[in-house]
Symmetry: C2
Subunit: 388 residues, 2 copies
């Protein structure tokens, strides 16, 4: 187990009706920037509920709406300008991971003397931020309880993750009923996203990370159990609640602290989204089994890891590691592409040419030295092709 620092300072209010705790924002100032996306929060009543609670608490609201899936730096800049011109005290995101990610970089940009894109390219520059709050409406990214944010500059085909202690939300409201209206497509993509976060830290060569591995397996079992239930019965409380809570823990440090290698699949997916603006979770689902196949082939010692995954998550009884590993990968593929109905290859999400594979692979290979199995540009091209 590596040495680590563990810090999860976000207070979570979990369950039905917990939005009432937004009244506590008054302890952080009198002016909030409300950040949201396309307006679904107006249709489902969350917007009205939040404004009423904030109004009663004496917190004035300025709005930044229209945050995109794969949120853009232009929107972040607009939010930063609002914070500076209006003297905003805190940032409240209502939405999914994209909205929260945008709000985080706005909160950091508001107290940074320069362009917010600097903070995306260099996390070291994020020393402080306005207090960040969120009301979650989509279980997927875990942004409600972690330090990360992913922002895109589509004009340059750039999509990068940044992260800092100051980006951890002060408080997040997790009401599973707010995810009842999430579409089948987004429910499936969200499940793939949270599973991928778990995989990124679970597959490690560092020995002795038992606590972390058992946590990861528990999260994966829960996602695999409830993902299909949520597809079938969108208003099943247990399914929505367990997916929501599992997604938060998949990336808050619980699995990564002490075991964490550099992430492998996310950097590849970020290139797909940067070039083609596809749904993040779908990209991850497409790449994950192809990545598993490739890694097992390139480094046969990983059979032990994939076999443990198969036995502890999928209850595979096979005692031969290589056979168990292959069975586990097959189970993963079937789960994503049949059970959850996710698109099974890059063509299915509209990527109909390999023309950018070279440049995408070159960028995705940066920082790969610390990965579970380090990948070269050529390796990543092979994975893209296998997923094509």
């Amino acid at each position: 187990m590596y040495n680590f620092r563990f810090s999860v300072p976000t207070t979570i209010y979990f369950g039905k009706g917990q939005i009432s705790h937004l009244a506590e924002l008054k302890d952080y100032g009198s002016k909030a920037l409300l950040v949201y996306g396309g307006g679904s929060i107006k249709r489902n009543g969350i917007y009205d509920a939040a404004l009423k609670i904030l109004g009663d608490a004496g917190v004035a609201v300025t709005e930044l709406s229209g945050v995109e899936p794969n949120p853009r730096i232009e929107t972040v800049r607009k939010g930063v300008d609002l914070c500076k011109s209006e003297g905003i005290d805190m940032v409240l995101a209502i939405g999914g991971g994209s909205t929260i990610d945008c709000a985080k970089v706005v909160a950091a940009g508001a107290v940074y003397d320069g362009d917010a894109w600097d903070l995306v390219l260099d996390p070291e520059k994020i020393k402080e931020a306005l207090p960040i709050f969120s009301v979650l409406t989509l279980s997927a990214t875990g942004s409600e309880m972690d330090e990360f944010a992913v922002i895109s500059d589509m004009s340059k085909n750039e999509k990068w993750g940044t992260g800092a202690q100051a980006l951890k939300p002060t408080m997040s409201v997790l009401d599973p009923t707010y995810t009842y209206s999430v579409s089948k497509k987004q429910t499936a993509a969200g499940t793939a996203d949270m599973m991928s976060h778990t995989f990124e830290s679970y597959f490690t060569k560092e020995p002795g990370c038992d606590v972390q591995a058992r946590f990861a397996e528990g999260l994966l079992k829960t996602m695999i159990k409830y993902g299909p239930v949520a597809l079938e019965k969108p208003d099943n409380y247990d399914a929505r609640a367990n997916l929501m809570w599992a997604a938060s823990h998949a990336i808050n440090g619980l699995v990564a602290a002490g075991s964490q290698p550099a992430w492998c699949v996310h950097p590849m997916e970020h290139e797909l989204s940067a070039f083609y603006d596809i749904t993040h979770g779908e990209g991850l689902a497409i790449l994950t089994p192809a990545w598993m196949d490739f890694v097992l082939k390139k480094d046969p010692s990983t059979a032990a890891n994939f076999a443990a995954y198969g036995r502890n998550v999928w209850d595979i009884a096979e005692t031969d590691d290589e056979k168990a590993a292959k069975e586990a990968i097959a189970k993963t593929r079937t789960f994503f592409f049949e059970t959850m109905g996710l698109p099974a290859n890059l063509r299915a999400v509209g990527i109909d040419s390999d023309e950018h594979f070279g440049v995408m692979a070159e960028k995705a290979a940066k920082g790969s030295e610390g990965c579970f199995v380090p990948l070269t540009k050529a390796d990543i091209i092979e994975i893209f092709k296998a997923a094509f």
Copy 2:
């Protein structure tokens, strides 16, 4: 899943050499009360290391030593007096759970205008506390990352737990090598203690707590794997590290949030310690299987819970719930009393009469309505007798 508030604000520095982070205490003031127990930290060098780091950081130290196992209110009062007379800014505990528990109530008492015993009897009275820090030397209670403290007044045979958000440590240093010198007896008792904390929240009738249940099972599997390793090889890093990290998570809210019933076994054990000053973890080990037997008999519907425990923690293949439940209880008994060598009954820890069972049971039954299976005074007497 119940609604819940989740908050784990303690920053953890985990691993070899992390004591260097005590230098950060200078950010909280210039005067620390150093709380410790019987002096083992002087023999193993931790005391000298801490004083050097604090000295270099410009933090002056006042000492409260001699904290007892089952820490006494008299010691707490002495610490409170020191804080008030010396103008102490923060409290640093170096030791196990007893030392940290004592430090917590000292920290709260230092800013309370009344007798510290009030804060033990009524947690509601704990509104604030001096910042609390700890360097852990024994894996067991989880006090390094939770809100609880247990204090005794032996003159009245009273031992009560208290708890408040303000009692959560600001920062704790968890260096597994500091537990290499923990005796076999304390290693076994600590393992029983952390397992009991996990059981207290794991056994619940609330449905849909999958995330919490899988976390609990992962913790239990880890404790069961590494407890015997630590007994056999006291300086096995993986064993000490996993036990340490598992103990912290057993009680920090991860398992309890959303699933928590009132605790069942701890209240009974507190009476044993209050009357006989026995080792807490040994008392828990003795009572746990007797409690499981009794609960299964009183409420046969609990067979489903104990069977799930058996299958998911002990890999029991039995498909009949009642048989699997009994097998799981037998495994627990064997683990405690054979594998870990813990005393198997009350007589083995010097309790040679049932004279106090009535008064102890009456006190332990208070608050039992919310338990997994509520217990009456008569029920608890029966459990004491079975454990005798």
